[in-house]
Amino acid sequence: MNVVATPRLAADFAGIRAQFPLLARTVHGGKPLVYLDNANTSQKPLGVIEAVDRFYRERNANVARAVHALSEEATNLYEGARSALARFINAGSPQELVLTSGTTMATNMVAYSYLLPRLQPGDVVLTTTMEHHANIVPWQLVCQRTGAHVVAAPIRSNGELDVEGFIALLDPRVKLACVTHVSNVLGTINPVAELASACRSRGIPLLVDGSQAVPHLPVDVRAIGCDFYAFTGHKMCGPTGTGGLWARREILQSMVPFFGGGEMIREVRIEDSTFADPPARFEAGTPNIAGFVGLAEAVRFLESVGMAHIAEREHGLLQYATARLHEVPGLRIIGEAPRKAAVISFLVEGAHAHDLATLLDLEGIAVRSGHHCAHPLMRHFGVPATCRASFAFYNTEQEADLLVAALLKARALLA
């Protein structure tokens, strides 16, 4: 586990919140912002903002291309970010971590670099009904080219994955199994180690979408035992356009490049080229250097708070907010798995999710409404859209109270 050195006391969370300058702003003519859209993107602490600013003021240069001092410094910072991220998820080596623009690029990279050359007609990619489109559509695109198809494992009415159902679908036709670690809509925390074990015993590689897990739970990719782990930086206090794909070294070695260009090659002739070793093989072009400098700072920040403390704090907020939301007449929570992250999707009888979200916004409360990039899941629950309040460690019980008060008002207006 990568729980950290100098954990702070839970009581420090007010001080931690104070490090997020944006949380002090107001919206709609002076209403204090209540930011409950953390599953969409997190806010950034001052250290991250300053690290990006400092990079452009003092260190800006391209990486791994020049021998001058600035380029050396920028390269060290960029590779330092890789090392910090690798340590954060307990990768065996920084060389097992491909830096990407986020989870979507990571899953697409697996689709084209790993899966496409291996798929045959009749093969299957197993995913689940609760996945984000980024863990469905890339598989469909490569299946359409090869005559393979995507199958989704079922979920239960409380939003839990049907683990037995998932395992029952692991037959020899399955060339890749994919599951989210934490559902972006339901908050369900899936038993990824159990699923990885079932996949491994059948020789099927498992990809875990960690977008909603890395910011909220201690994540140890080696303890999980999966083959691919994808995550995104902007949900974990880092800049947008950052993220990573972890895969075991031998898998990365077996993969062909997806993007071609500078820095991913060993030698280029007009007729053909040879490619660099991973992870450089998969990082064509100039990367988001400043973004990764910021993400490295975000990792340091999260480690200083402690992921175990973050998980505990957010669980407390989840329990408090869930209990308070049940006080709103006609409110129904979608997703009540026993193991949940602090994501609460809900519907209010007689009020459309988008109308609720607009009325909450006018009170300064930012939630997401809509399908949350999860059409199959919405269809499963038979709803066109939900409202989603997603909490981070810097949120407060008082903000949950404000959410409930605003929902009661909105309901009265719309009913």
Partner: protein, 152 residues
């Protein structure tokens, strides 16, 4: 807004709420000459617009929707606006509505109660909800010959 604990109502003004709570034009038409389905990918809203036509002009309008209050109210208000109009006049109505939704124009006589959506100039993400009934009506008129003779 009063009686709701002081909630700022934004685009949900009294007229919009009145139409959203009890939308008109939901009675099926005896005969449908043109129809189309509209879908808002962001909201998940769905609407079906049905029209009766005579000599290229709208003589009857009805809708069926599973949609947010903004879409329901816009669909309800639209009924009166469409009576007697041909395809090109509906296209012009949409342009006038867009001018209001985008804050370029305060209102237009042709819009009538639809001008109540002027506050959506401040909420661009909700504009597609208000536009959906009108864009779907236009879709239903696709292929209906215009009899207007003016620039659409």
């Amino acid at each position: 807004m009063n009686g709701t604990g002081g909630l700022t109502a934004g685009p949900y003004d009294a007229l919009v709420l009145e139409h959203a709570r009890a939308p008109a034009y939901q009675t099926p038409l005896p005969a449908v000459d043109a129809a189309a389905d509209g879908h808002d990918a962001l909201c998940g809203d769905h609407i079906r617009i049905m029209l009766a036509l005579r000599d290229g002009r709208i003589t009857g309008y009805a809708f069926d929707a599973d949609a947010c209050a903004i879409t329901l109210a816009a669909a309800s208000m639209l009924g009166d606006r469409l009576q007697g109009r041909c395809r090109d006049e509906v296209a012009r109505l949409l342009r006038a509505f867009d001018a209001v939704l985008e804050g370029r124009d305060e209102s237009s006589d042709a819009l009538g109660p639809l001008a109540a959506f002027a506050d959506l100039a401040k909420h661009p993400s909700r504009r597609p909800c208000a536009r959906l009934p009108l864009t779907t009506a236009l879709k239903a008129l696709d292929g209906v010959p215009s009899i207007d003779g003016r620039e659409p």
